[in-house]
């Protein structure tokens, strides 16, 4: 059964201290060619029946993202493309 994935990221103009902390730590790992790192949330939703994208969009808009500071996208993903399928 496909799964709905909602990606929520801070708007580009909002400072992301976590992403910055990671970016600042990279040179210590010998990584010098990263321009920027942004950290957001990935939310995987399994529906009991058919996955419902509109429903998911509504949930995202009301609850999962805060429109003042965040943008989101909603998409369907086959279960074998999910993170646990290939780790």
């Amino acid at each position: 059964m496909p799964r709905v994935v909602v990606d929520v990221m801070l708007k580009p103009e909002i400072l992301d201290p976590q992403g910055q902390a990671v970016a600042n730590a990279l040179p210590r790992l010998g990584v010098n060619d990263v321009a920027s790192v942004r950290i957001g949330r990935r939310i995987e939703i399994d529906f009991t029946g058919e996955p419902d994208l509109d429903r998911a969009r509504e949930i995202a808009d009301k609850l999962l993202a805060n429109p003042v500071i965040e943008d989101f996208t909603v998409r369907l993903v086959e279960t074998d493309e999910t993170v646990d399928a290939h780790s």
């Binding site: 801070l10 201290p17 976590q18 609850l63 805060n66 003042v68 500071i69």
Partner: protein, 227 residues
């Protein structure tokens, strides 16, 4: 008649008992309200206390906003009822769009608890009329997501309308834009504050008694308010 001030308990509220104690010390009657019960039991004002409502797992305050009691509170606040959101309460007020902007992860990424100096900049609100303009107060701050952000236009508007209620002095504890520690709505009845005035109401347990002013203010406001 003593004023009745409601204090809401959400699952995960932590400073609800302290807020009720502060209300009592200020001379009002605290009334405990429950997140799942939309009734306000005729309270004259409401405090949304600090804590981690619903674990604050998604975003602070995001889930609490949908509690049944919030619907009634939002309506009442739009009608002029004084409403104070402390810390998690401030986050809930922003999530509920009663106040503009949002509270995000502290810039240094740590939870931080310290005694913080604030400058009270607006004394025209229901919760700060007992202070002098520009008065400096010492109040504990303790949060992990207390960094206030809003777009520049909103920030300019807040400043222009005198709605920045308090600013951090002597070091910004969380990276808030323009050192903002507390703001109010246009009507001045709804105030969100990141530091914890309810922890500065007793000499024995707090760094000062400065927090008491927020609670005595609302009593003053209620007496003066048209019935």
């Amino acid at each position: 008649m003593t004023a009745r001030v409601g204090v809401v308990t959400f699952p995960g509220s932590l400073d609800d008992g302290d807020a009720a104690r502060a209300v009592r010390i200020a001379g009002a009657e605290p009334v405990r309200l429950w997140h799942g019960d939309p009734q306000l039991y005729g309270v004259d004002a409401v405090v949304l206390p600090g804590g981690f409502s619903y674990g604050d797992y998604l975003r602070c305050g995001a889930i609490a906003r949908f509690a049944p009691v919030m619907e009634t509170i939002v309506d009442a606040a739009r009608g002029g009822m004084p409403l104070l959101g402390i810390c998690n309460g401030f986050q809930i007020l922003c999530e509920a769009h009663l106040l503009p902007g949002a509270l995000t992860r502290n810039q240094h990424l740590h939870f931080r608890n310290r005694d913080q100096i604030l400058r009270v900049e607006s004394v025209d609100t229901a919760w700060t009329n007992a202070f002098q303009p520009g008065q400096e107060v010492l109040i504990p701050v303790k949060n992990g997501e207390g960094c206030y952000v809003a777009d520049p236009a909103t920030l300019d508007q807040l400043e222009a309308e005198g709605r920045v209620v308090a600013r951090y002095l002597g070091g910004n504890p969380n990276g808030s834009q323009r050192d903002i520690g507390a703001i109010t709505n246009q009507a001045g009845n709804v105030v969100g504050i990141m530091p914890h005035p309810e922890h500065a109401v007793e000499a024995l347990t707090g760094p000062s008694l400065d927090g008491l002013g927020f609670f005595t203010s609302v009593l003053k406001h209620l007496v003066g308010a048209p019935a």
